[in-house]
Amino acid sequence: MLTLWNDFGFGGMERSLSAFEELRREMDRVFEGYERDAGRRQSAVWPRLWLNDRGEALQLTAELPGFTEKDVELSVERQSLTLRGTRKVDAPTGYAVHRQEREGLAFARTFALPCRVDTTKCVATLKDGVLDVMLPKVPEEQPRQITVKAT
């Protein structure tokens, strides 16, 4: 009904040449493994996320497709951050399942922050499946300009 496309045209030879048939089977075996991993290559560490220093704040960005606010839990301490989430992937009722690469999962990740943050001012938003957390640094950790004076 619906198969993954691959551009190798071994399909037509299958009945006529047994040697090619053998080769095709071998190719299928190779590509089967490749295909099976195709959607998962990016999920070795899940979720994909980034922690950046934006000067006055640290910014955490995490890709959480299919998550709602209720599925995500975030807790911040002065120098660490924990992100937890669960996602269920249920087949829609009445449908047969052909392929299921999107996984239901639960994860928890904790980070040591490189500097202290003001836990009362942290803001987190979830939009289009991307979580964005701004963690303002405590005043002592903010970057400061030092004026050079002539003497």
Binding site: L2, G39, E63, G66
Partner: protein
């Protein structure tokens, strides 16, 4: 132009060389009326999504907004679709970074109930 990387780029555009192609994980479901494809494309909005049918291929593409200091990403997946899919009956929507594509089956391919009549 605040980005210094942009400023040193040659005048002639060499587009998308540093584009990262990602293959999003997909689910494929089917019932009597349609085939449903679900794909994870975090960050992608409806206007940055392309669903294109070039029989027999169906292309799904999504471009999330580029993040500062990261390479631009293109989510991309291609399927072979059999001809019992109605080319005019494809509908797609994206929500919370999850793309759903509904492929309606043509009427001829739907299972039909054949009435059994009593013989005389």
């Amino acid at each position: 132009m605040s980005d210094t990387k942009q400023m040193v780029k040659p005048a002639v555009a060499t587009p998308e060389l540093d584009l990262v192609h990602l293959s999003p994980p997909v689910d494929i479901y089917e019932n009597d009326n349609e085939v449903l494809i679900v794909a994870d494309m975090p960050g992608v909005t409806p206007d940055m999504t392309t669903v294109r049918l070039e029989p027999p291929r169906l292309l799904l593409e999504g471009r999330p907004p580029k993040r500062a200091q990261e390479r631009a990403v293109l989510y991309e997946r291609v399927f072979r679709v059999s001809d019992d899919i109605d080319p005019n009956g494809i509908a797609a929507h994206i929500e919370a970074g999850v793309l759903s594509v509904h492929l309606k089956k043509s009427d001829a391919s739907k299972p039909r109930r054949i009435e059994v009549r009593a013989g005389k």
